[in-house]
């Protein structure tokens, strides 16, 4: 418990430092209500995708297919909407069709999760390869379904998911809060959560303590798939369109957010609270770079450098802790 607190404390201090820095460099723009609100709209989709990434990293796996599965989800939902509603998206049965599209999209995401889980748990394919394969497969399917075009124009209910507000709180933020809470409860208060942490630390020991490892992996990737589907709904709503290659740069960002928040790539460690602080740091830095008009490609390079720096810091912290333990 102490370790958790000290980790989050370091992160919070880093966050405070970065916010102060932003305030000093460009305070007028940064603290504007419109800017803060823009951040509140941007953070959730990356946040939910990061949760999808994190849960697989806890089991010492990785899910490279989250972006592809999100795009496929959005495309399936978009195709249902455009085929059943026609060009004027405000027809009479719009609500029913919207709900159908959402359900179908989430079903696709869940099936993708089960496919990943099956490959990894039953066929014992390594998670990198399995999800790499499904990633290419899903990308291909998305391109075949759309022939590379954009599908756009959605009814109000779909648009509300990404752009609406309830009592002044952006709808995506509400969805993200629900997703994060569900994930936190799942990891900390359920048998599955405990099994996931145990599996990530030592799969053999977990097996011998009577846990069905295969079921744990199946459920992990199922949850990961569904979360990528939820993120897809927010994305398609915010862009008011669906396309095969949206959000490609998100893959790096989700790994970065998870690692920054203290999730170990070797499995077994990581918390939702850490991830959220990591996300906020990312969002603030990204927003700051944007306000300073830093070149997009330079920003990508900076993300890469930050990821490596965080990993190096983790390495030294682990060494320090090990030394203290053996001393």
């Amino acid at each position: 418990m102490n370790r958790k607190y000290s980790e989050n404390l370091i992160l919070i201090l880093a966050l405070v430092g970065i916010v102060l820095l932003m305030g000093m460099v460009n305070g007028r723009q940064f603290f504007q209500v419109s800017n803060l609100q823009a951040m509140a709209f941007q953070l959730p989709e990356l946040g939910i995708l990061s949760l999808a990434m994190m849960i697989t990293m806890l089991t010492a796996g990785i899910n490279l297919s989250i972006i592809a599965s999100a795009n496929l989800t959005a495309i399936v939902a978009a195709l249902i909407l455009s085929n059943l509603l026609g060009p004027d998206a405000a027809g009479s049965g719009a609500t029913a069709v919207s709900l159908l599209a959402i359900a179908a999209g989430l079903l696709v995401a869940a099936l993708v999760g089960l496919l990943n889980g099956y490959l990894i748990a039953w066929l014992e394919v390594s998670p990198i390869l399995a999800t790499l394969g499904t990633m290419i497969l899903l990308q291909g399917a998305a391109i075949v379904l759309t022939k590379g075009y954009v599908i756009s124009g959605f009814p109000p209910l779909i648009l509300f998911i990404g752009n609406g507000k309830i009592l002044g709180v952006p709808m995506p933020m509400i969805i993200f809060t629900v997703c994060a809470t569900v994930m936190a409860v799942l990891l900390n208060r359920t048998k599955l959560g405990t099994s996931i942490y145990m599996f990530g630390s030592n799969a053999t020991a977990t097996h011998y303590s009577g846990i069905n490892n295969r079921r744990v992996i199946m459920q992990t990737y199922l949850v990961s798939g569904i979360y990528s589907g939820v993120a897809a709904l927010i994305m398609m709503s915010r862009f008011n369109s669906a396309k095969a290659d949206y959000g490609e740069s998100y893959l790096l960002m989700t790994v970065l957010a998870a690692v920054l928040g203290g999730t170990s790539a070797a499995g077994g460690f990581g918390t939702v609270s850490g991830l959220i602080i990591g996300l906020i740091i990312l969002q603030v830095v990204s927003n700051g770079l944007n306000l300073l008009r830093v070149n997009n490609f330079l920003t990508i390079a900076i993300w890469g450098i930050i990821l490596l720096l965080v990993m190096i810091a983790n390495y030294y912290r682990n060494q320090y802790q090990q030394k203290r333990r053996t001393a």
Binding site: V125, S126, F297
Partner: protein, 331 residues
């Protein structure tokens, strides 16, 4: 016959033969010497990269930053050649040195800071590519020295087809073949080669037997970098222009070829024969799709399906073997 099918590579060979028969039945142009030599020339780029990826996979790691390495190498090479002049040797030298340096950076993070190779190379892919695009403003380079263009048309062997047009074995294909032989010698006859297999099979035992693990890892990733640099030059020879964004994102095609060839991410397994067959299978499929007039957007679906099926099959085989006995695989 039973022995033939016990080797995974022979399955790939069989798949290539079946595919070739089907394609030829639809379009007889496929099985002509001209088409095959053309195919070998245009797949030299993927072929050279796949050798490096094979080394990394055998050692138990993974590298997806090589497309960025190749891009940086060929861009810097083109800029320097245009500015200071030079010849083919300096071209390969510049690209090779850049490739080795970038590969070594990967190795340092992976070995000395114990960062998982996939995370390291996701990061360095974005760093190399981001910085290159930032400093070059994403500008394409079209003008290359005339001798550079001439070199790309050199043929080691020249033949004439029925219509009287000349074709033959390109120098570019020969570069690939030479590198293949070099890699084969390293893997088979040197301590480094045996060490790479040992490292991938079981790092702890490899260290206890006395292999120098840091040196092996630095070698593997630098070699990958060197090949990426050479592949960058080869690509420039093939297309006669340099674009910062032309190959980043294509790393999965190369990885697919190597995985199809039987290398496993668990390390310690993989052969050059398999990798070459994997490249040929992908080339055949791609060329076949064009010759059979299948819309190109089906390409990813097919590749994805083949990867999922082949990794599943080899993982399943591995699992069966594991339950039966402990197997040490040697090329």
């Amino acid at each position: 016959m039973k022995k033939f099918f016990s080797s995974y590579e022979n399955f790939v060979l069989l798949a290539i033969i079946i595919l070739a028969v089907v394609i030829t039945a639809v379009n007889p142009n496929f099985l002509t010497l001209e088409n095959i030599l053309d195919l070998l020339k245009s797949y030299s780029f993927v072929g050279i990269l796949s050798i490096g990826v094979l080394f990394v996979l055998i050692s138990g790691g993974i590298d997806i930053s090589f497309t960025a390495t190749a891009t940086v190498a060929m861009y810097v090479m083109a800029v320097m050649l245009n500015k200071y002049g030079g010849n083919m040797v300096t071209a390969f030298l510049i690209a090779g040195v850049i490739g080795i340096s970038l590969g070594m950076i990967n190795a340092i993070f992976i070995h000395y800071f114990k960062i998982h190779s996939i995370i390291t190379t996701i990061a360095t892919l974005n760093i190399y590519y981001g910085l290159l695009t930032f400093f070059s403003n994403g500008k394409w380079i079209y003008s290359l020295p005339p001798w550079f263009r001439e070199f790309s048309q050199v043929r080691v062997l020249t033949l004439t087809n029925a219509a009287g047009r000349e074709f033959g074995l390109s120098i570019i294909t020969v570069i690939w073949l030479v590198l293949l032989i070099l890699a084969w010698v390293i893997l088979r006859y040197t301590m480094i080669g045996r060490g790479i297999y040992a490292l991938g099979g079981n790092p702890v035992s490899a260290e206890r037997v006395g292999f120098n693990i840091p040196r092996l890892q630095i070698f593997v990733y630098s070699f990958m970098g060197l090949l990426a640099g050479i592949a960058g030059v080869v690509l420039t020879l093939l297309v006669q222009s340099v674009a910062p964004n032309s190959i980043v994102g294509k790393e999965l095609d190369v990885l697919a070829a190597v995985i199809l060839g039987g290398a496993s991410l668990l390390g310690g397994v993989g052969t050059l024969r398999g990798t070459v067959l994997g490249v040929i299978l992908i080339a055949t499929m791609n060329n076949g799709m064009t010759l059979m007039r299948i819309p190109p957007y089906w390409y990813d679906v097919l590749i994805g399906m083949i990867i999922v099926i082949s990794v599943s099959a080899s993982a399943y085989q591995h699992r069966q073997k594991k339950y039966k006995t402990t197997v040490i695989e040697v090329q």
